[in-house]
């Protein structure tokens, strides 16, 4: 597998910093996500992984540094603007429209992606293609039977899949998954892993995870973050063998 250094990375951060007063959650992070990547971001609790995702997605404003999407600088753009440039994310704790149906949740995302979500007067039902596209996504992820049920009535593991479906509805070129298996009973996490494995090959994927089995199964490249700084980066075997990484995880409860 050739390293795609010649091609421009799908996502890049240069000297990205973020501090809250004395607390530095991101310290000169230089990060590159190649096109079609399967990249994992790991680190102990409080390392700043979710903050990194928030910085990249625009939910958090950087103190300094640059963020680039497909070579274009997006550091000063809002969340919504970055989404329009092809960036999508999921949340560690589901952020869904709990009172709305599963189908409606995904339709909202698909509608935004098509640019028709702001249509003032023609009924949403008339845009059948949008609804069908959303429905197809549900089928793809195996949750189509819950289509008309309100999200809050759906099992949590399946809600996590809805969360992914919503992100996929945006047709992203870069997808950030924040602990996709978090909170899911171990019996159901297999489905989520399968779904992630079936994602399009040209999608650049960054996964934050604590579950090492999941990481080693899915990732072709791993970055280790400790206290807001990148400790090391490389292919899974190199990371597994690195004594510094094991040291950093000593004292952390091992995932079985």
């Amino acid at each position: 597998m050739t390293a795609p250094e010649a091609a421009e990375p799908a996502l890049e951060t240069q000297a990205l910093c973020k501090s809250f007063g004395a607390l530095q959650v991101a310290n000169e992070i230089n990060f590159r996500l190649a096109r079609g990547a399967r990249h994992a971001l790991i680190g102990p609790n409080g390392a700043g992984k979710t903050s990194f995702v928030n910085l990249v997605s625009g939910a958090l404003e950087a103190s300094s540094g640059k963020i680039l999407l497909a070579g274009q600088e997006v550091t000063s753009l809002s969340q919504a603007q970055r989404v329009k440039r092809g960036l999508a994310r999921t949340f560690q704790i589901n952020q869904l429209f709990r009172g709305l149906s599963v189908l409606e949740n995904v339709t909202l995302a698909v509608g935004e992606q098509h640019g028709v979500a702001g249509t003032l007067f023609r009924p949403a039902g008339a845009k059948r293609a949008i609804i069908e596209e959303a429905y197809a996504l549900l089928e793809q992820l195996g949750i189509a039977e819950d289509a008309l049920r309100p999200v809050r009535e759906v099992a949590y593991g399946r809600q996590r899949l809805v969360e992914i479906a919503v992100a996929l509805g945006l047709k992203p070129s870069v997808l950030l998954l924040d602990e996709p298996a978090a909170g899911v009973p171990s019996g159901e996490s297999g489905t989520i892993i399968e779904v992630i494995e079936r994602l399009p090959a040209d999608l650049a994927l960054l996964i934050i995870e604590h579950d090492m089995d999941l990481v080693f199964r899915l990732a072709r490249r791993i970055t280790v973050l400790v206290q807001g700084t990148v400790l090391t980066e490389g292919p899974p075997q190199a990371i597994a063998a690195d004594p510094r990484v094991r040291e950093v995880y000593l004292g952390e409860r091992a995932h079985s």
Binding site: S57, A59, S78, Q79, A80, Q81, V83, K84, A88, R89, F91, Q95, L96, F97, R98, G99, L100, S101, L103, E104, T107, L108, A109, G111, E112, Q113, V116, A117, G118, T119, L120, F121, R122, P123, A124, G125, A126, K127, R128, I131, E132, Y135, E139, A144, E145, A147, L148, V166, G169, L170
Partner: protein, 329 residues
């Protein structure tokens, strides 16, 4: 899932905006009321105008989720605009109506741009402050508004040059009803359009809306402006059909009252205003003959009880009953 099942789910979803027979009920009742209560048409016209006001407030509160304590600002500015025109030679009610809507929209857009970037307590405070500010301005600019005495010398002409207002309220009733129908069609279309659905998304989870690329501020500003225009139109209706405009049209009291009315009917269900407003106004009309002091007490108590026990209002209770009866089958 078979193609037939998939088609069924998509169909059900796509058909939500179709007119249902039950939706004709409020209009049939309104028409019946014309014949059943010929002596109460003046009150009826006021109720209809307030339903329009309530509908506008529901768009902002029930759909966009903006808690506002100052919606009367737009209503009152609309009323004063229509009243001012009528007192200065522009007698045509329709011109007054359009001007009032435009005024409402302008104030809505201006205050929205300033207010909607904040959230929580700040929005609540700022909507309140805008309303109080406008009331204070109206109070002091006596040359334009008549101050505490109210606008004097309104001369309202006939609608389209054909139907003039009389003390029995015939013209007033149909005039208000037609304007309400127009407003309702607009509100209904908005709610069922992708725009309306995205508002529901903003209300349910604004974090998610940002994360799917939705221009949240722009959507909120749009609905705020449209709602303000509708409220301004309602203000014009009241001004034109009663021939009076006084400071209470800009009061926080009125802003609070319209909230109460739509809560009683049920917020965010499009028809809450149609139920809550007549209920409140008819009850108030009856009660104020008996004792206005008691009215304040009971409406306060009802409000507390509704919040604690029946947050969905009348429509919410109806929905719950229907759900319970279908589950038993």
């Amino acid at each position: 899932m078979t193609p037939a099942q998939r088609g069924g789910a998509v169909d059900a979803f796509a058909r939500r905006h179709r007119f249902r027979a039950l939706e004709a009920l409020p209009w049939l009742l309104a028409i019946a009321a014309y014949f059943a209560f010929p002596d109460y048409l003046a009150l009826g016209a006021q109720i209809v105008a307030m339903v329009l006001f309530g509908l506008s407030a529901d768009l902002v509160l029930g759909y966009a989720g903006i808690v506002t304590l100052g919606h009367a600002a737009f209503f009152g500015m609309g009323a004063y605009t229509a009243g001012y025109l009528a007192a200065h030679g522009v007698g045509s009610p329709l011109v007054g109506l359009v001007a009032a809507s435009a005024m409402g929209a302008a104030i809505g857009a201006l205050s929205g741009v300033i207010i909607l970037r904040t959230q929580g307590l700040s929005i609540l405070m700022l909507t309140l402050v805008v309303c109080v500010m406008l009331q204070e301005a109206a109070n002091k600019m006596t040359s334009i508004t008549g101050g505490a005495d109210g606008l004097q010398g309104m001369q309202v002409g006939s609608v389209l040059g054909l139907f003039s207002f009389d003390i029995y309220g015939h013209t007033a009733y149909w005039y208000c009803l037609c304007v309400l129908a127009a407003g309702w069609l607009i509100a209904r279309a908005l709610v069922h359009a992708p725009f309306g659905r995205s508002l529901t998304g903003i209300r349910e989870n604004v974090t998610r809306m940002h994360a799917i690329g939705s221009p949240v501020f722009l959507r909120l500003l749009t609905i705020y402006t449209i709602s303000a225009a509708m409220a301004g139109a309602a203000g014009a209706l009241i001004a034109e059909t009663t021939g009076l405009v006084a400071l209470n049209v800009l009061s926080v009291d009125l802003s609070g009252t319209i909230l109460v009315m739509i809560i009683l009917g049920g917020v965010g269900r499009l028809y809450g205003a149609f139920i809550g407003v007549p209920l409140y106004m008819i009850a108030q009309d009856r009660f104020s003959e008996i004792d206005p002091v008691y009215w304040y007490f009971w409406i306060g108590l009802l409000l507390v009880l509704v919040v604690v026990f029946a947050r969905g209002g009348v429509l919410g209770l109806a929905e719950a009953l229907i759900r319970r009866s279908t589950r038993r089958r």
